[in-house]
């Protein structure tokens, strides 16, 4: 009967109920979307950027404090031999990678015409590399270094240079002896990685090609390691540091390598807590006010029920039942709107602009919905309404039967 009475009262006081219902629903929609975006940002870092950059990275130690850490004098000699010595069951994938600065130039047969050019970072990788997943997955034309041949460019760089798939591009570098060198390479793949920074700054060749271009046989910029369990990275980094001691190498785990980005992720988590608190205050105020108004309008009715034998705690339970119903239904409605929005955005993506890339994220974020977030928001919305109802029920139950009955 209490549940029925609560439901009937909700329907009878439809306008006020709609305010409470709407406030809860809007709060849950916003929290679901905000939670999805923040989870998407975190996921970009934890599931995309960090695995692409490696859980553990080995580089030349001297590069750390160098004015130009990309100088070719900071390559690891005998990188392939060193790679072969890395045996550890915690390691899933280990690869050498040669990063080098280069100028990509449009090939022009007519020397009178000025060739377009753009300065980029070349990534020399194995054709079957497990890294650069966003590039491999983002190939829109051609394929990723077929047979180790050619060069993969982003569509945006290809457009800047006026080149296309099947054409060629001149790759100009200076080798380790500071001698200029170039190769004209066929364009075998075009990609959209989803990251503006990556698209505008990176091209990919095979490591063999990269070594030829910079005259660095058997040398690499770094050894990237992916682990079966990312949480073992600090322990493995410490073990490898001991193993490679005296070789002038530096071993860095992802927690230290991405400390700044991880701090931002933690900051976003804290920010989300503040967003929740904000909604507790704003939505809570609206809901409390509406529930209080509804309760005050029915003070005489509560007086009647008390006069015919309803106990104080039963009155409180009745008001709380109403709040729980409104909060629960409002939260469900909020989830019914919020979850599909997040799911659509998780496919389409959300462009947050290139500024986000300077703090370590990609410009296009793919929000993620998690069931835990859904349950948390459902409980959160219901609790706001319950807390407001609890306050209203306390106010009502403090009055004596006579005060309730004589309320005008």
């Amino acid at each position: 009967m209490f549940a029925k009475l609560a439901l009937l009262n909700i329907l009878k006081h439809a306008k006020r109920s709609a305010v409470v219902f709407g406030a809860v629903a809007v709060a849950v929609v916003v929290l679901t979307i905000a939670g999805g975006v923040i989870r998407g940002l975190s996921d970009t870092v934890l599931a995309s950027i960090i695995p692409t950059a490696g859980h553990v990275v080995i580089t030349e130690a001297a590069a750390q404090d160098a004015a130009n850490p990309l100088d070719l004098k900071y390559l690891i000699p005998g990188a392939e031999e060193l790679l072969a010595t890395l045996h550890d069951e915690r390691i899933a994938v280990a690869e050498t990678i040669l990063t080098f600065p280069a100028l990509l130039v449009e090939p022009v047969p007519d020397s009178k015409k000025e060739a377009r050019n753009v300065g980029l970072m070349g990534q020399g990788v194995r054709p079957d590399t497990r890294f650069l997943s966003s590039v491999r997955a983002g190939i829109t034309a051609g394929s990723f270094l077929p047979g180790g041949q050619g060069v993969a460019l982003s569509n945006r760089v290809a457009k800047l240079l006026g080149v296309s798939l099947g054409g060629t591009v001149m790759v100009l570098t200076t080798d380790r002896g500071n001698n200029p060198w170039y190769q004209e390479l066929p364009i075998t793949g075009l990609f959209n990685s989803g990251s503006e920074q990556l698209d505008l700054n990176t091209f990919v060749v095979s490591q063999e090609t990269a070594r030829e271009l910079v005259d660095a046989a058997d040398m690499s910029r770094e050894i990237r390691i992916l682990l079966r369990d990312p949480e073992t990275a600090p322990a493995l980094a410490a073990d490898l540091s001991r193993q490679l001691e005296g070789q002038g190498l530096r071993v860095l785990d992802w927690q230290r390598n991405f400390a700044a980005v991880l701090t931002i992720v933690k900051f976003l988590d804290i920010l989300f807590v503040f967003i929740r608190v904000f909604f507790v205050i704003v939505a809570g105020s609206v809901i409390t006010n509406s529930i209080l108004m509804t309760v005050f309008e029915r003070t005489r009715e509560y007086g009647t029920l008390r006069a015919i034998g309803l106990k104080k705690r039963q009155l409180r339970a009745m008001i709380l039942t109403e709040g729980a119903l409104l909060g629960g239904l409002g939260s469900l409605a909020g989830l019914a709107v919020g979850i599909p929005l997040v799911l659509v955005m998780s496919v389409v993506g959300l462009d947050l602009g290139s500024a986000t890339e300077y703090v370590g994220f990609s410009s296009r974020i793919y929000p993620l919905f998690s069931a835990i977030d859904g349950v948390t928001n459902l409980v959160f919305g219901t609790l706001i309404a319950l807390a407001a109802s609890w306050y209203a029920s306390r106010v009502s139950s403090r009055l004596s039967v006579n005060q309730l009955l004589s309320h005008t």
Partner: protein
């Protein structure tokens, strides 16, 4: 001599309005016996509703005692008071005070639900009372679909549903026309005579006063007469 079910002894009730103390009752004493059909009469503001509220466990006296079936009501906690209002004393209000979102049956059975009476038993009790107060055709109607007299008969049925020993009615006919008032009073009198339920009701209508077998007259918070109707 019938059993005394209620004893009011030297009861006073003061209301505080800012710094002003307004005495509503000034030392009222009387007894109510089983099966009585008693009327409290007097002009507006004489303390009738205050006295009924004290007897009905709705308010507390400033001094003196109200003893119901041997229990001093002043000693009861909130839950015990609610228990008495639910099972021992029925209350009928001047303005009916029905729950607007519930229909006739639901309004009447609400106190039974608070007592966790099984559904079948509930239905039998409510059906009987609906017949007694003559509302058989209106069981699915909400209060706003009923006339004043019908609403008051729903309120009477609700007051009787847990078989209380005493029913208090605060000016039950004040909002009704004379014909409907007579119907309501007849219903109350019949229940008093057939089921031996004690009734105490307030009125300032002399025609209604005549239904009572005993009349207590109040004036300025004091009892100025306790007689059979017509006696002075």
């Amino acid at each position: 001599m019938p059993e005394t079910i209620l004893a009011v002894r030297d009861v006073t009730k003061d209301y505080q309005l800012g710094k002003t103390v307004i005495p509503a009752l000034k030392g009222v004493s009387f007894d109510i016996h089983e099966g009585e059909f008693l009327s409290i009469v007097g002009p507006s503001g004489c303390g009738k509703s205050t006295l009924l509220n004290l007897i009905g466990c709705i308010d507390k006296a400033t001094s003196g005692s109200v003893t119901f079936q041997g229990t001093d009501l002043a000693t009861l906690n909130d839950d015990q008071e609610a228990e008495i209002r639910l099972n021992q004393i029925g209350f009928i209000f001047q303005s009916f005070n029905l729950v607007s979102v519930l229909n006739v049956i639901e309004n009447i059975e609400f106190p039974l639900l608070m007592n966790k009476v099984p559904r079948a038993e509930r239905r039998a009790i409510v059906d009987h009372l609906v017949e007694v107060v003559g509302l058989g055709e209106f069981i699915r109607h909400r209060p706003d679909e009923l006339s004043g007299g019908q609403r008051q008969r729903v309120a009477i049925a609700r007051a009787l549903v847990n078989r209380p020993r005493l029913v208090i009615a605060d000016e039950p006919t004040a909002n009704l026309d004379s014909e409907t008032s007579a119907t309501v009073m007849e219903a109350m009198k019949r229940l008093n005579e057939e089921d031996k339920v004690s009734f105490i009701f307030s009125t300032h209508n002399e025609l209604i006063e005549r239904y009572a077998r005993r009349v207590i007259r109040l004036k300025d918070g004091r009892i100025v007469g306790d007689t059979a109707p017509g006696e002075h």
